[in-house]
């Protein structure tokens, strides 16, 4: 009896396996680590949301896996003069509900994107440079910008095109419920269960060609170990944000493949530049208060930078899932500075520099960082604390949840703290403008410059770059600005992360530099 029961159980298990195998040819289950919060593509400018939106909707332009601009719903674009752009739209494209895609839809989209009610992070940052949208004919749009703005096409690749007729008065809730979740994209919306999953179905009439997957199940599994376990158990086909601890094991596993690419996210230390007379978490070697802020001295900053063994952090803490960084962007991207290498590890040099700066007996310092935001964040600051302590800067390490961390960092409460920056557009103007340009509300500069670094020369180079349409000249200016920032140790770059995915053998994945996880990048075979 026992054996009969066991046999039928095994049989049932075998059946369900066979069925799963047959279904697997058509279906794709992805598990992602970051929750999608909305289907409305203009509600919340957040990477997971943008990744999901790319399945259902399209932008005028798109970016490829190496973050290079490629045509989307616009076949081509050109600048007519310094402030006027003309986009030629793809013909014969329809939305999932059958309505035609025309120039009116582009104009509508640009008017809706910045005005979604209750948006906690809107798309206005991409449409603000636009002064006027002119519909020339159903397949041509001219966009006039307020000033010279070379990044218009890049910015617009973030804005998903909606249908004027369908979405005129659509609310975010209408998108989430599926009522108006229609776009021109490769997949149709089926169901959204917040915090759990999104189900998609192939759009057989997609203008870019049919996708290989009939249905896509886009699951959210935030817990890292659970995500890896789900892949190992065969419950999902592909996972993103593979924990660095598991990469080596997954690579060895015969049943699995791993895809990885150097990303665009730099992990760096920001330093307190705002105070001249002492910094809250810096004190003398015996804990005595200092009457000046040592971090204002470039020698101290350089000492702290060369005291860090970046190769050790990359190989030991990150287990190879990063590359040491000496500037904002990795090699092979626009505006990367050739020859600007990661600072070499030199603890003796660091001690000398400290002595030169007037601190022969070292310092005391506290380093702060989040423990739930970046890959291995709390481990990185511990390692840095250990390196600094060994050159005589006795370091206290404090890791805390991002929630409390970012509020305090924003109030400039810290002296040295770990943060990351993802340049999703793959271009140095993004970090230069947000992280090291002088804080200025009118220009929109330095919005994330929490250490309040300020350098007039850098500001000048950056402003000049942002007003230069010529790509080559602009790249030169951005490289100069980057060099100024790095030579002055405005920030201490640590490493640039690699983005890692793992999947069942038999799937091929085109790893994206911008960290987005999309079913469109997964193909059978390989």
């Amino acid at each position: 009896m026992m054996t009969a029961g066991l046999r039928s159980l095994l049989l049932a298990a075998a059946c369900s396996c066979a069925m799963a195998g047959a279904a697997a040819a058509q279906n794709l289950t992805i598990a992602v680590g970051a929750p999608v919060t909305s289907i409305d593509p203009h509600y919340h400018n957040l990477s997971p949301n943008n990744a999901m939106a790319a399945h259902i909707f399209d932008g005028l332009a798109d970016t490829d896996s190496r973050a290079r601009l490629v045509p989307g719903l616009a076949e081509s674009w050109r600048t007519i003069d310094d402030t006027t752009w003309e986009f030629r739209l793809r013909r014969g494209v329809t939305f999932h509900n059958g309505s035609d895609f025309t120039a009116e839809d582009v104009a509508f989209t640009i008017s809706r994107a910045p005005n979604v009610p209750n948006s906690p992070s809107g798309f206005g940052i991409f449409t603000r440079p636009i002064a006027e949208v002119q519909v020339v004919d159903p397949h041509t749009v001219r966009i006039r910008t307020r000033a010279v703005y070379p990044l218009l096409a890049v910015d617009l690749s973030n804005v998903m095109i909606l249908d004027k007729e369908t979405h005129e008065n659509a609310t975010t809730e209408d998108f989430n419920s599926g009522k108006v979740a229609v776009g021109t994209g490769p997949y149709r919306f089926v169901r959204f269960a917040p915090g759990d999953r999104i189900e998609l179905e192939r759009n057989d009439t997609y203008w870019g060609g049919r996708q290989p997957w009939q249905r896509v199940n886009y699951r959210i599994i935030v817990n890292e170990a659970a995500r890896t376990a789900a892949l190992l158990a065969g419950d999902v086909d592909l996972i993103d944000q593979v924990p660095t601890a598991d990469i080596a094991r997954l690579k060895q596993d015969q049943r699995l493949n791993v895809s990885e690419v150097v990303g665009l996210r730099i992990i760096y230390l920001a330093l307190d530049h705002s105070r001249t007379d002492g910094s809250p978490f810096v004190s003398g070697p015996n804990g005595e208060a200092l009457d000046r802020n040592p971090l204002k001295d470039v020698r101290v900053r350089r000492a702290l930078s060369i005291a860090i063994d970046r190769n050790a952090i990359v190989s030991r803490v990150m287990e190879g899932a990063a590359i040491p960084a000496g500037q904002f962007l990795p090699e092979g991207t626009y505006s990367h500075v050739p020859g600007l290498n990661p600072p070499a590890f030199d603890p003796d040099g660091a001690r000398r520099l400290l002595a030169e700066a007037g601190y022969p007996n070292g310092l005391r310092l506290a380093i702060h960082g989040p423990n739930d935001r970046y890959v291995n964040d709390a481990r990185i600051i511990q390692a840095i604390g250990s390196f600094w302590t060994r050159i005589g800067v006795r370091t206290q390490v404090e890791a805390m949840p991002w929630t409390t961390f970012i509020a305090r960092a924003g109030r400039q409460e810290f002296s040295a703290f770990l943060v990351g920056w993802g340049s999703s557009t793959g271009e140095a103007s993004s970090p230069l403008r947000s992280l090291v340009a002088t804080f200025n509300r009118e220009k929109g500069f330095g919005a994330s410059n929490r250490g309040r670094y300020s350098n007039p020369e850098l500001d000048r180079l950056l402003e000049q770059a942002l007003a230069t349409v010529d790509d080559e000249k602009r790249e030169k200016l951005l490289q100069d600005a980057t060099r100024v920032a790095m030579e002055d140790v405005a920030i201490i770059p640590i490493h640039i992360q690699k983005n890692v995915w793992a999947m069942k053998r038999g799937l091929r994945h085109d790893a994206r530099a911008d960290e987005l996880t999309r079913a469109m990048d997964v193909r059978p075979g390989g």
Binding site: R316, A378, R379, A383, V397, E398
Partner: protein, 311 residues
Amino acid sequence: MTPPPAEAAIASAGLAPAASREETPLRRFVADFAESKVAVGAFVVFVLIVLCAVFAPWIAPQDPYDLAQLDILDGRMPPGTMGGAGFTYILGTDDQGRDMFSGILYGLRISLMVGAGSAFIAFIVGTALGLLAAYFGGRTDTLIMRLVDLQLSFPSILVALMILAFLGKGILNVVIAIVAVEWAYYARTVRGTALVERRREYIEAAECLALSKPRIVFRHLLPNCLPPLIVILTMQVARAIALEATLSFLGLGVPVTEPSLGLLIANGYEYMLSGRYWISFYPGIALLVTIVVINLVGDQLRDVLNPRLRK
């Protein structure tokens, strides 16, 4: 001070048949406790663990809290590897190159401090409030019990986050957070028991004797409510240690550079799937042994202290 004869009679009515007169209470207690060999063994192990924790700086080959002694190049070494500092990592190292053996000894200190400290404080606060509620009833009862409701309805994570926001991170704050979460359990339980006990004859008798209220509460009511509380106390020590581990797992516990056993386990958790079991396994064993012996001792204590179990 000996109680008046009438009171002594009441006390023994509520408590137990009085112990034989020749023995001192302490001797009797020790003899009762020693009846169980397992409990004595557990007690010995417990004492050893406490000694290890107290003398950790002298036993451990490394000060795991001194960042200058950690070498990241020695990170994640399997047990038995010779390190750069010239001694063998008998239990391996974690991702920072922290010797697991030293880490466990030091972590034991913090876990015991947090576990025992918070459980004990919560016990005192909760029991006192619960007794007050049961004995005085009326508005006092209402006020305290609504406070208990309020407390029990707050997820501990939220309490911990708020305490963190107000006070900053640290061992003391973790203790405060755990006390804030746990006291209500004692209060609720002691009130339930006391409500029953309160109506027993010996309390009525004590009231008839016009004894002072504090005296009735603490000399008569409390001892009779103790047995279930001791069960909870021994369990709460374990629970507090586990809760601290969970808080660490959620990133809210003790500082990362001064890991408790719980934080060591939580740190190693990420390495479980990759086969580097030692980072999480050995602290887990240490935690387990500690909690098991505390409970074995606690069980025997309860049996000894519980008058109704005496034959």
